[in-house]
Symmetry: C2
Subunit: 307 residues, 2 copies
């Protein structure tokens, strides 16, 4: 305690005052605080106090915020992470992702992970159809995984997941959808090629029956995500890519509720109405054909200002 | 949707980009959003993005924040409000209070409510002893409620609450402490006088076994509040006062964990070692005598910049 008290200079009172509020709070941190935590908390307290001073909340508004934060925590469960949703709809998830993945030009950019990733999904041989409920418009996705110079990356792991044609992920409808519906792990072949069958993704709302959905509605925003497939592509020695590919014809493409769309991630979806071609890939006709290559940058320390 | 899309000018892309992140997010709000919510969210998003850009969190740090916020919500119950604690230890509760209670000089200043206020505590006649568990050093508190000119305010309601001598409020120890121990409502008499008996307050830690306590520890801060009694003093036509009085000899006076101390709220506690005086007030000797007046400002619209 003596040590803490001595960090407050004689001329600045340790007691709260409105003008010096953030300074008084930050001066209280002890010398034993971890340097990074001290930095993070100082910045958070500074901006939080600045925001409160600019907003000048009434007591009722402050308490509405307390209630909102509490309810956002309380609705979280093993299958629902409302705070990630909040981070998503405020653009924070995309911002953190951008800060941590400043890649060289030409590399496939990241976008957000989202709350529905599941580790240890089934591993399949290339060509497998991951749509287990038979709903939706058939689609084949094929392409290559390469480095920035175009060299094949064999044995890259491609994790893919998407909603079903009703707009729900398997984990949102346990017992309704088959386990691991529209979710699987593929491996690129010796020429870096991968391919699999699925159904054309469609737009869907993020869970909007909780505090975050109510906030979205109050802000005059809709909860819809632009139609997409999720991918995580990893290969030893390369920077892992967590990304989506988007359909070009989705009405929400420029209004994605979580700001996940990047122009470089909008794919071409070609409709193929050809019985022979359909038979060849093992789908009914017509089907959607998507050609998509992933370009991986070599592993580097992210270009961040802080350790 | 068309309306929202049209608010994005031709020259600024609706897609996320790191430099324009807060602008992209705030441009998405629809015309139907309430004006005050639009203002509040715009300010929050601006400062939140500024803080994230300054911090440059790793993905792991971002997820630690998500986990912290989730756990802080999940530990909340009918008798525990961890988000109010968080607001308290970051100085936000005091700041919101200060913004909303800019009183004329001479009026008793506010301090924070804290999480242990209970409405509808027992009403007692002046002179009642609110200490029902018999622990601690006996104390009598007496004074007047007046306006700024010194005129008596009769029939003012004084709600008082404090911890017991073990440092716990009754609601933290249901079944251990008598119901409504050290909690009561008094009414000023025709000359504005009030008086009651209790025990000398002592410092105590805020609940530190949850996420907020862990954060405090990591910041090198202790969880102790400077010893105090809580008061809410209300009278028709006057600005309600939510405040504390502090003992002058508490070792945590300049290090209150929630920044609640204001110099004007530090009282004198006089020890009286006089059997006759003790008999007169109905206490054992020695006892503590505290003289404390409350000065109420007339009701006014708070001087805040926003409605």
């Amino acid at each position: 305690m003596q040590a803490q008290a001595s960090t407050v200079s004689q001329s600045s009172s340790p007691y709260f005052d409105e003008a010096r509020s953030a300074e008084v709070v930050n001066a209280r941190m002890g010398p034993e605080a971890d340097a990074r935590l001290r930095q993070v908390m100082s910045i958070l307290v500074k901006h939080l106090h600045e925001a409160v001073k600019e907003i000048e909340p009434t007591h009722e508004e402050w308490f509405a915020a307390i209630r909102f934060l509490t309810e956002t925590g309380q609705i979280c469960s093993d299958w629902r992470q409302e705070y990630i949703l909040l981070s998503d709809i405020l653009g924070v998830s995309m911002l953190v992702d951008a800060i941590n993945h400043r890649r060289p030009s030409g590399a496939t950019p990241n976008t957000i992970l989202g709350p529905f990733y599941v580790a240890n999904a089934p591993e399949y041989p290339n060509g497998t159809n991951i749509c287990l409920d038979g709903k939706g418009e058939p689609m084949v996705v094929a392409g290559r995984v390469t480095d920035i110079e175009g060299n094949a990356i064999p044995d890259a792991k491609l994790e893919v997941w998407q909603t079903n044609d009703d707009g729900f992920y398997d984990v949102q409808q346990k017992g309704v959808q088959p386990d691991s519906n529209l979710r699987g792990v593929f491996t690129s072949d010796s020429e870096g090629r991968y391919w699999f069958k699925s159904v054309k993704p469609r737009h869907y709302p993020i869970p909007s029956d909780g505090p975050v959905g109510k906030l979205l509605g109050a802000m005059g925003r809709h909860p819809n995500r632009a139609a997409h497939l999720h991918f995580i592509v990893t290969a030893p020695g390369f920077d892992p890519v967590i990304t989506h590919i988007f359909t070009p014809d989705c009405p929400y493409l420029s209004e994605d509720a979580v700001f996940g769309v990047k122009r470089e991630l909008i794919a071409e979806f070609n409709q193929v109405d050809d019985i022979d071609a359909a038979r060849e890939v093992g789908l009914s006709s017509p089907f959607w054909s998507v050609s998509w290559d992933f370009t991986l940058a070599t592993s580097t320390t992210p270009t961040r200002a802080t350790p």
